[in-house]
Amino acid sequence: MANETKKPALYLAEYDTPNALASAAMRVRDAGYKSWDCHTPYPMHGMDEAMGLQPTRIGVISFIFGMIGVATAVVMMQYTNAFSFDLLKIGAGYPLIVGGKPPGAFPSMVPIMFELGILLCGFATLFGLLGIIKLPRHNHPIFESDRFEGATDDKFFISIEADDSKFDLERTKALLESTNPTHLELIEEEVL
């Protein structure tokens, strides 16, 4: 690691109050940055607007997979309980007649349709969430900062990443300084 080289990864500005963070966020938003973020110890309401974020569409994923769950349940139950043939060779093809009901009685299958719908919806929401926010990721350069540990306690941060097209060592620094952060630092990452 003797000849390691470093390049700028992001600017990290620290603030003490939600209001200072929000007003700074509005400045960064208006300056037209795209690859930047606010870091807060809890979900802070009003920041969607202050950062100019569009609503998330994770609900679409959850809904689609919920419906897939319901459909899976219908197919599974009809195939294994009601059909008299077994194309998949899984030991089905034996209609179960219980309680004088038709083998494919629909009302009695509602509870399992519901439960499987919920189950797949839950898994889709979990993995959809992790997919959209691109976690797990343990190696983000922001963790190089010692002060960043406050972001899960009681401090508020704005980070502007170097891969933003508007990122400029001088101008970005000047913008963040004009928002009066309590601390401002440039974080570098190793170039491999």
Partner: protein
């Protein structure tokens, strides 16, 4: 931009946590529990729970060696204690989902102090519950017949059976509860990771925190996902106990064949769950000194909930009796007046029903005891609510015992009547599940933040920016008069 976190002054609301509590105080109080050496009381309780868990292991080993004959189950009381315990435990779990999901949808801010705790309780209670039907099958190594997987018999489950619905409902409930719980924990694991002094802790919590960095773009999706979890957990929790009640309601046994069962079971489940949350919370807030985060105000609200659900349960009891009388069905009336109430109808030897005392214990604990919460003094007195919550738990166990045993031990045909006596193994198995529950629970309070740190912080005064004052709405018509951003 007055967010919902702000108390509504017109309604006399105030901030939940004491004036002047900072975000750092919250972190210190909650994360500190996992960082400081365990109090001696924790070790005592842990060793005790672990011993009881060992008793459960021994009882189960004996059961598997000898077979289900070691229990008091018999013909006609086939279900007996196993299903009683199953329904009781799973009901306990429901309050956790109610607190974490339903109160979330209703924007009840006070839930933040107790939801993590209650969710953990849900997960552990459902584990204990799931044990009973599994061992009740007699040969638990064949339990995989219950799942829709090809097996050597070339037989598939009968999906029209409520018992199969139960398999799906309970396993879905457990899975979704674990996921919901874990998603809520991610930011708090990050807090613990960032406070860790030694590498093992940092790596372990860091692993579970998934590299969480509190980014608002993450929080935005996270909050929506959390809302979706709350949205699907709410009908889920209602469905689970409804499905459990279908196990009874779809049969033709007098005392079970009742359309009131689904709402009645759900209300009872929430009632008993709240009672157990209360019991455990009172112990933990004292042992770990969290009185400032779980305040008397929170406890007062929980007691009101218990009063409300207790009244629902009382209504269900009364309505069951009314319908038994109104139906003019002699079997239904027999179960209620003879088997449960113990009088009104004598058997062929002129005797009252021998299990009457269980019914009266149930009514006393579930209907009479919670009435004390009409009084504010009782709702805010820790000893009173502690005793009441334990009595309610006992009463709710008796409710399931009454439903299962007194409906089946003397039903249609006197020649098929029997009696139920629990055996020592019954008792040890049931007590043993407390060992399982408390062992898991004590590990939880020791290693996982038992209160949702991030959520509590969001309810603090000034936790959210006042965008209006910052001039965020400049562009809106009529808002031009707002002062420009003051220099910080």
């Amino acid at each position: 931009m007055s967010s919902y976190e702000a108390p509504i002054k017109e309604l006399g609301e105030t901030y939940l946590l004491p004036e002047g509590t900072t975000a750092n105080d919250v972190t210190e109080a909650i994360a500190g529990v996992t960082e400081n050496p365990a109090p001696r009381g924790w070790w005592l309780l842990f060793l005790l729970s672990l011993s009881i868990l060992g008793v459960m292991g021994a009882a189960l080993a004996y059961l598997f060696y000898q077979g289900v004959g070691v229990w008091g189950n018999n013909a006609p009381v086939y279900w007996a204690w196993d299903i009683t315990n199953f329904v009781w435990w799973i009901g306990i779990g429901h309050a956790g989902t109610l607190i974490s999901a339903i109160l979330f949808l209703f924007r009840q801010k006070w839930r933040t102090s107790i939801n993590r705790f209650a969710e953990a309780m849900t997960v552990f209670a459902v584990l204990c519950a799931g044990l009973f039907p599994a061992i009740h099958t007699g040969r638990p190594w064949f339990d995989y017949y219950l799942f829709p997987i090809p097996n050597q018999m070339d037989m598939w489950p009968n999906f029209k059976s409520p018992l199969m619905w139960d398999v799906f409902a309970v396993s879905t409930y457990l899975t979704i509860s674990v996921i919901f719980w874990y998603v809520g924990l991610i930011p708090d694991f990050a807090t613990l990771r960032d406070r860790s002094k030694n590498l093992v802790r940092k790596r372990t919590y860091g692993f579970f925190a998934l590299g969480w960095r509190g980014a608002h773009r993450h929080w935005q999706v996270y909050e929506r996902a959390y809302l979706i979890f709350a949205g699907i957990s709410t009908p889920l929790v209602l469905s689970v106990h409804s499905v459990v009640s279908f196990d009874f309601a779809t049969s033709v046994v007098p005392g079970w064949h009742t359309t009131i069962f689904p709402p009645y079971f759900v209300a009872g489940a929430v009632f008993s769950g709240f009672a157990l949350v209360m019991t455990l919370m009172l112990i933990c807030r004292t042992v770990f000194k969290l009185e400032n985060i779980v305040t008397i105000k929170h406890l007062d609200l929980m007691n009101k909930f218990m009063l409300g659900t207790g009244l629902l349960v009382g209504y269900a009891y009364a309505m069951e009796f009314f319908i038994a009388w109104y139906s003019a069905n002699p079997y239904e009336q027999w179960v209620f007046f003879h088997n449960r109430l113990g009088f009104g109808m004598l058997d062929e030897n002129g005797n009252w029903g021998p299990l009457w005392w269980a019914y009266y214990a149930m009514v006393f604990c579930n209907v009479v005891v919670p009435q004390i919460f009409w009084f504010k003094r009782a709702r805010t007195s820790v000893p009173i609510m502690f005793i009441a919550s334990i009595l309610i738990n006992i009463g709710m166990w008796f409710e399931r015992f009454v439903i299962i045993v007194t409906s089946t031990y003397r039903d249609f045909l006197p020649s098929s009547w029997g009696m139920f006596h629990p055996t020592g193994i019954d008792v040890l198995t049931y007590l043993g599940t407390f060992g399982l529950f408390f062992t898991l629970f004590l590990l939880f309070v020791r290693w996982i933040p038992m209160i949702a740190i991030a959520e509590v912080k969001g309810t603090l005064p000034g936790a959210h920016p006042d965008l209006h004052a910052l001039g965020a709405h400049d562009e809106e018509p009529g808002a031009a008069a707002v002062a420009p951003v003051p220099a910080e």
